[in-house]
């Protein structure tokens, strides 16, 4: 039955929601100059965000 198990994407959503500050920092970095985005432009910010998300996903 759907609903009895949390879908992986929901776990991801919950984890991202817990990393508000990191998420905002990454968003700010991209939005700062959004006409000129290239690969790994905001790598540092993303790595911080990613490790936060992974941490919260691991706890579940």
């Amino acid at each position: 039955m759907p609903g009895s198990k949390i879908r992986p994407v929901d776990r991801l959503a919950q984890a991202v929601a817990k990393c508000g500050t990191e998420s905002t920092a990454y968003g700010k970095c991209i939005a700062k100059d959004f006409n000129n985005v290239y690969k790994d432009k905001c790598l540092a910010e993303f790595q911080v965000l990613q490790s936060c998300v992974l941490k919260h996903m691991g706890k579940k």
Partner: protein, 391 residues
């Protein structure tokens, strides 16, 4: 922005681990006057999507119709979730029914093309302030829909009240092909069958719009209207741009996640090319607030509106995990509404749905026609005076 849209909110509350509790502005008929624009209206910006090439008979494929059917089947299988996301198409159907009231007619036989879960049939039975439900003016409604699971999600008694004067027939048929051929060539409907054709929120998945539009014109009786509401233009532009930026940064390029959509001026041209007369087009923006971008994507999925652009990424459910992680921050930063107080300090995100409403008439005798060029006998300048000069 061209039209002033209505804003209603969909709030997600984490009840029992699942979400969802929608507070939707109560649909009331004839509540908002629309910005009317005639077919010649041009809208700034926007690019011509590839699915509106004129005169190409099915040669250009943008969407995977088979997958679209599967997505709708899957969405409808979870009927409870599917009903929770009816809010958008129900609202669009209600607004389309308002436009039906503008035409002072009764109809014997009406076709609903791309019915979804019979949103239109339901909307026809909603009472309108001071007016009878529109269903009293329709004898027979035929609803066609690509996905039979979605079409038959609800039983007849859930859709129409038992005393309804309107008969409902449901046909699981692909709206892209059902009208193309007459019965002599294996089709379903004779030419000149319907007193009106209505399509509500499904034409944006059609590959070959010109053929479908002329198919509709074929089954219409002369001097009968075609009414349509379709998602177009800037629909989901927030999601589109955020996904592009996230894709650029994480993957170094963009892939199509949000469909190319027809623009207002595209539709005007297409209707004209398909031979419709007295064309009226107007647009409405519906802005829905979501808790976060995952809630938006989940709702789109539950509507069966997930991506089916051919050439989309197929691995990892289409979206890479890195892109998903980064998406939320970008969306909130670029489009979030926390600062302007739009959602009362809650850091929700808005999603715009731009709906193009169209009315076109099949040519018939006794229909109003524009006068011949140069046949005017009154000089407009005399009536309007000198002030009429612009500038």
């Amino acid at each position: 922005m061209l039209s002033a849209g209505l804003r209603f909110q969909a709030r997600h509350r984490p009840v029992h681990g699942v979400r969802l509790q929608f507070i939707i502005a109560k649909p009331s008929c004839l509540r908002h006057r629309r910005n009317l624009a005639i077919a010649t209206n041009t809208e700034p910006g926007g690019s011509s999507p590839p699915n509106v090439r004129i005169g190409s008979a099915g040669s250009f494929q943008v969407f995977d119709r088979r997958v679209k059917g599967l997505q709708r089947d899957r969405a409808a299988k979870n009927a409870e979730e599917s009903r929770k996301v009816d809010y958008l198409r129900d609202e669009v159907a209600n607004r389309l029914v308002e436009r039906l009231y503008d035409i002072n007619r009764s109809y014997e036989h009406v076709l609903d093309l791309g019915a979804g879960a019979c949103h239109l049939a339901r909307a026809l039975h909603r009472p309108c302030t001071g007016l009878e439900p529109f269903a009293s003016r329709i004898k027979h409604l035929t609803s066609t829909e690509l996905s039979s699971k979605l079409l038959y999600r609800d039983s007849d008694s859930d859709i129409i009240p038992s005393k309804s004067p309107m008969e409902l027939t449901r046909l699981a048929q692909d709206e892209e092909t059902v009208l193309l051929a007459p019965p002599s060539q294996g089709g379903l409907f004779e030419s000149n069958t319907f007193d009106a054709v209505i399509s509500c929120g499904s034409l944006h998945w059609i590959n070959d719009l010109p053929s479908v539009l002329s198919g509709i014109s074929r089954v219409l009786k002369p001097d009968s209207p075609f009414l349509c509401a379709m998602f177009g233009g800037d629909t989901l532009y927030e999601l589109r741009t955020s996904l592009q930026l996230a894709g650029m940064d994480r993957l170094g390029g963009v892939s199509p996640h949000v469909s190319p959509l027809a623009d207002v001026r595209d539709m005007g041209g297409l209707l004209q090319r398909a031979g419709y007369k007295l064309i009226t087009i107007d647009i409405d923006d519906i802005i829905v607030d979501y808790e976060n971008v995952f809630a938006l994507i989940k709702d789109l999925q539950a509507m069966g509106e997930a991506n089916t652009v051919l050439g989309r990424r197929k691995s990892l459910a289409g979206l890479s995990k890195d892109v998903l992680i980064g998406l939320e921050g970008i969306y909130k930063e670029l489009h979030g509404r926390a600062e302007d107080g739009g959602s009362g300090g809650e850091a929700g995100i808005p999603a715009t749905f731009r709906i193009i409403y169209m009315i076109g008439w099949k040519e018939g005798t006794g229909q109003q026609k524009p006068l011949k060029r140069g046949s005017g006998e009154v000089n407009l300048k005399d009536i309007l005076g000198e002030q009429s000069r612009l500038g």
